[in-house]
């Protein structure tokens, strides 16, 4: 049987694919060239398109699904940003650009917590006339109940557990309101409500950062009679400018204005758009393309565009003028475990610090724009009290200093290098790239890395976060990233450097640092109420960790965000490292 000549048709496939080349790279002129493109990075320092114009549908898109829309059960940064649209926690971050936005200010509360009793008692007064979306007035009992819910880790396992860690314990342990059989269900003894507008928190030990803790959405009031447990995520009772009108789980969320919200009681949010929609589980490339075409307003995840869109944006002056490159608040780094030999010797760790090629680290994460700025300190610039310093020439010799590395190796007794394992998350291409880059650069001084990739879902729970596993598998280097739960030194360093946070599973102090200097300073931070003194410890802790060479900082993450010209009141909220979702409006 004779066959058709098909070789020529291979060209068909190639031609079609080559048509794509016309779409990318050079002079992609997509996106509306609105006359008010405020300029590259304009939203990092100022409000772009300030306006009080009302109306329009604000569309968000996200490439994955939320962990939960229940404000008591979420731990994603972008969700904490998004929940400000429908919740009012006790405190929140001030809605203003630049360093101004790092301040924590009262939201539902009338003022910051009044501290008494040597730092053990924190009293908050709440505004008297805030209403839920059904018109009922918010009382202190609703705030107490919201905190109580977070204690039931079987029903609501996903949010942070600061309250169970910080509040005064009771015996038997408080099980949460769903299994609590005490009268009126107000069984959490550490939180009391002397009257309808006062909430008093009793701490187990002084904790100067408690105002930050109550800025977490978990303190957003929940009316006990309207709580539906695991189904609350389907329709939380709103105290913010918008309320749920429909929510198809993991598919589409639609919000409409909450008629009982008053702007005068909530200066950190605005109610401008007449509808808000969030579409989950969209294809990431699709999100970027629609953003550029103007069919989508915001990428909810807020972590920046993909490579294709990045190229289009950076090569087109019009598009570039509508984009921002903020610091996102993450530090991408590598833990250098202090227990796995020979890294238990500080000089061997110092060798790693000198030998690592930081430029390649940056390139692996996406280069100076989309990856980040080469880091020389553990705390990124948007941590309160951070000071820049550079112990290992990360910024002066970003390709590494092999001579000093070799000297350090000699000092630790391994002049020809050593072997150790490196752990990374295999489903994160940037970490894969980083692992290989480090493998290549460290090999230059004889440090041989064997790479071990693990799935990100179980990375902390089963592998790198399990000290026994790390020891038995010789994982001297472990890639990680960290963003603090609140932007001060304690929030940044506690989980990753405090000796008492080393835990047998889910460990985040993977370098297993137990330095008394660091521990001491962290303790002082926790108990010092004076903000200036407290914040001065940040740089000291940072310096000590770097002296211990327990962490190899990679990059202060930056992301390239496209700022849709349709949006008004756009600016970067520095704590979230993405646009402030609570104030957006449309032209």
């Amino acid at each position: 049987m004779r066959r058709p000549r098909t070789i020529g048709l291979a060209a068909l496939g190639m031609a079609a694919a080559l048509a794509l080349a016309a779409c990318g790279g050079s002079s992609g002129g997509g996106g509306s060239s609105s006359s008010s493109s405020a300029g590259f990075n304009a939203a990092v320092t100022s409000v772009v398109n300030p306006s009080s114009h009302k109306g329009g549908t604000l569309t968000f898109g996200d490439s994955s699904t939320p962990d939960s829309t229940d404000p008591g059960n979420t731990y994603y940064a972008f969700m904490w940003n998004l929940t400000r649209l429908y919740t009012m926690p006790l405190m929140t971050y001030k809605s203003c650009p630049g360093k101004c936005g790092l301040q924590v200010v009262p939201d539902l509360a009338t003022g910051p917590g009044v501290v008494t009793d040597n730092g053990l008692t924190w009293t908050y007064h709440i505004q008297p006339n805030i209403k839920f979306e059904d018109g009922t007035t918010v009382t202190s009992a609703d705030v107490k109940y919201a905190v109580e819910r977070t204690f039931d880790r079987a029903k609501l396992p996903l949010g942070p557990n600061y309250f169970s860690l910080l509040l005064a314990p009771q015996k038997p342990a408080y099980p949460g309101p769903f299994t609590d059989r005490s009268k009126n269900l107000m069984g959490l003894k550490a939180v009391t409500t002397p009257n309808a507008t006062t909430v008093v928190f009793q701490l187990a030990h002084p904790f100067a950062d408690f105002n930050y803790v109550v800025a977490i959405p978990q303190t957003a009031p929940v009316p006990p009679n309207k709580d539906t447990g695991t189904n609350y995520q389907l329709h939380p009772m709103s105290t913010g400018p918008y309320k749920f009108s429909s929510y198809q789980l993991n598919k589409q969320l639609t919000m409409v204005p909450n008629t009982f919200w008053k702007a005068s009681t909530d200066p950190n949010a605005k109610q401008l758009a007449s509808k808000v929609t969030v579409t989950w589980n969209m294809n990431a490339n699709d999100i970027d393309n629609r953003l550029l075409a103007g069919d989508l307003d915001v990428d909810a995840a807020g972590t920046g565009v993909q490579a294709a869109a990045r190229a289009k944006i950076l090569s087109s002056p019009t598009l570039k003028a509508s984009s921002d490159n903020p610091i996102s608040g993450f530090l991408w780094f590598t833990y250098i475990n202090t227990k796995v030999a020979p890294l238990n010797n500080v000089d061997c760790r110092i060798a790693v610090e000198y030998a690592a090629n930081k430029t390649n680290y940056q390139t692996a994460y996406g280069g100076p724009v989309a990856g980040g700025q080469i880091a020389s300190t553990v705390a990124p610039p948007n941590v309160i009290g951070q000071k820049a310093f550079d112990l290992y020439e990360a910024t002066s010799k970003p390709n590494g200093d092999l001579a000093k590395a070799k000297a350090a190796l000699k000092a630790c007794g391994k002049p020809n290098g050593f072997s150790t394992g490196m752990a990374y998350r295999s489903d994160r291409p940037k970490e894969v790239a980083t692992a290989q880059a480090l493998q290549a650069s460290l090999a230059q001084v004889g440090i041989k890395l064997s790479l071990h990739g693990y799935p990100s879902g179980t990375y902390f729970s089963n592998f790198a976060g399990v000290p026994n596993y790390v020891h038995s598998h010789n994982l001297g280097l472990d890639i990680g990233g960290w963003a603090p739960d609140w932007p001060d030194g304690y929030g940044f360093f506690d989980f990753i450097a405090a000796g008492n946070t080393i835990s047998p599973a889910g460990n985040t102090n993977i370098e297993e640092l137990n330095d008394p200097v660091v521990n001491n300073l962290l303790n002082k931070m926790a108990t010092t109420t004076d903000a200036t003194t407290r914040n001065s410890y940040t740089a000291q802790i940072d310096m000590q960790i770097m002296k211990d060479a327990a962490i190899l900082p990679g990059v202060y993450a930056k992301s390239l965000l496209y700022r849709s010209p349709n949006l008004t009141n756009v600016y970067v909220q520095p704590y979230y490292g993405m646009y402030n979702y609570a104030v957006l409006g449309l032209k």
């Binding site: 004779r2 066959r3 058709p4 000549r5 098909t6 048709l9 291979a10 068909l12 496939g13 079609a16 694919a17 048509a19 794509l20 016309a22 779409c23 994955s64 962990d67 939960s68 059960n73 731990y75 039931d152 880790r153 079987a154 029903k155 609501l156 396992p157 996903l158 942070p160 557990n161 169970s164 342990a173 769903f178 709580d227 539906t228 447990g229 695991t230 189904n231 995520q233 389907l234 198809q248 789980l249 993991n250 598919k251 589980n281 969209m282 294809n283 490339n285 699709d286 393309n289 629609r290 075409a293 069919d295 879902g457 179980t458 902390f460 729970s461 089963n462 989980f495 599973a505 889910g506």
Partner: protein, 351 residues
């Protein structure tokens, strides 16, 4: 032509066909139970065999930095600490009888078939799958019509015009279709017809009840993408089958009898060539109904395929189980329908 696996059946009377259907339904139920057991065993056993214990399994379903108590609570809630047969028993009982679920503030009854609750969102799995079915159904059926009509038509024409330019060109394109990965084709379609030239912008699913025109318009690109692959396959198969049957003696006889050419082709030639097509169509459609995974991921269509991917990424065992069972159900039903159609299409099976 002896068809693999097909033994000639008995003479078809309506009663026989009904008995056949009933027997197949019973076999189907049995088959699904076996599938469920194997699926359950694989997903629950293999992690154990590979060395994970239930505590470690539970840590995947709590948030960051969980306390030990939290992990234990999750372990108990999800039933991970119970022996396999108990977990399977609970699973099966829920499907048949439904189960009660305590959301914290109230107890809801999950009506049968109840595929349990998602480990992550703690919402019932079955309603989520049901809401995804229309998307996958629209995608699969629409593409199926396209590829069947298109593929068979091209295959027939190519067979009849064997050796001509049309034949070679279409078979060449068909070869292209079966050799390119589907997500590659999908991406090219999107780039050209959705982003670069916004002929089909914003591909999202609009239910047919809401706006039929928009429903169809948004599905054109995914339909083409999916249909291209299968049409190519079917064109090749039809052509090969047609060439075979058209060279049979009975075709010559039919022509000699003086029948019109069209009748010869369709009533005699195509009909016989269709039998393998029908088999494969049934299996393909059945498989697609369980989720056209690659197409849905490429075009962001919230169907069963996307549901599967998300379930796997979150290692959400009830969702994984649910979607596997549903997909298996579709496949088995499709095979059953195919078997019934055999009796209709091919008289030799009936005879």
């Amino acid at each position: 032509m002896l068809l693999p696996g097909r033994n000639p059946g008995r003479a078809a009377a309506p009663g026989i066909v009904i008995t056949f259907i009933i027997r197949r339904l019973v076999a189907t139920v049995f088959l699904l139970i076996v599938v469920s057991m194997i699926t359950f065993a694989i997903f629950f056993l293999i992690p154990r065999l590979a060395g994970q214990n239930s505590y470690e399994l539970a840590t995947q379903y709590v948030g960051r930095n969980p306390t030990r108590a939290a992990v234990l609570a999750t372990e108990t809630k999800l039933g991970l600490d119970k022996p396999i047969y108990v977990q399977y028993g609970t699973f099966l009982k829920a499907i048949v009888f439904g189960t009660h679920y305590n959301s914290g503030t109230s107890t809801t009854y999950c009506t049968p078939p109840c595929f349990g609750y998602s480990f992550r969102s703690q919402q019932p799995v079955w309603p989520q799958m049901v809401s995804d079915i229309p998307v996958t159904l629209s995608l699969a059926v629409g593409a199926a019509v396209l590829w069947l009509v298109g593929g068979v038509a091209i295959g027939v024409l190519s067979a009849l015009r064997r050796g001509t330019f049309f034949d070679r060109f279409s078979m060449g394109v068909a070869l292209l279709g079966v050799s390119l990965p589907i997500f590659f084709t999908g991406l090219i379609l999107l780039e050209l017809f959705s982003y670069k030239w916004p002929i089909f912008p914003n591909v999202t699913f609009v239910p047919i009840t809401q706006n039929p025109l928009l429903w169809a318009r948004n599905l054109v690109l995914p339909w083409i993408c999916l249909a291209f692959l299968y049409a190519a396959l079917y064109a090749r198969l039809t052509r090969a089958g047609m060439l075979e049957t058209m060279s049979e003696d009975y075709i010559r006889t039919a022509r000699a009898k003086g029948l019109r050419e069209r009748k010869v082709i369709f009533k005699h030639g195509l009909r016989a060539a269709l039998t393998p097509i029908v088999t494969i169509f049934g299996m393909d459609l059945g498989l697609l109904l369980g989720g056209a995974i690659l197409t849905e991921v490429t075009f962001s269509l919230h169907g069963l395929g996307l549901f599967t991917v998300e379930a796997v990424q979150n290692q959400d065992l009830p969702e994984i189980l649910g979607v596997t069972m549903l997909a298996a159900f579709f496949i088995v039903i499709a095979n059953m329908v195919v078997d019934i159609l055999y009796a209709v299409v091919d008289p030799r099976v009936r005879a």
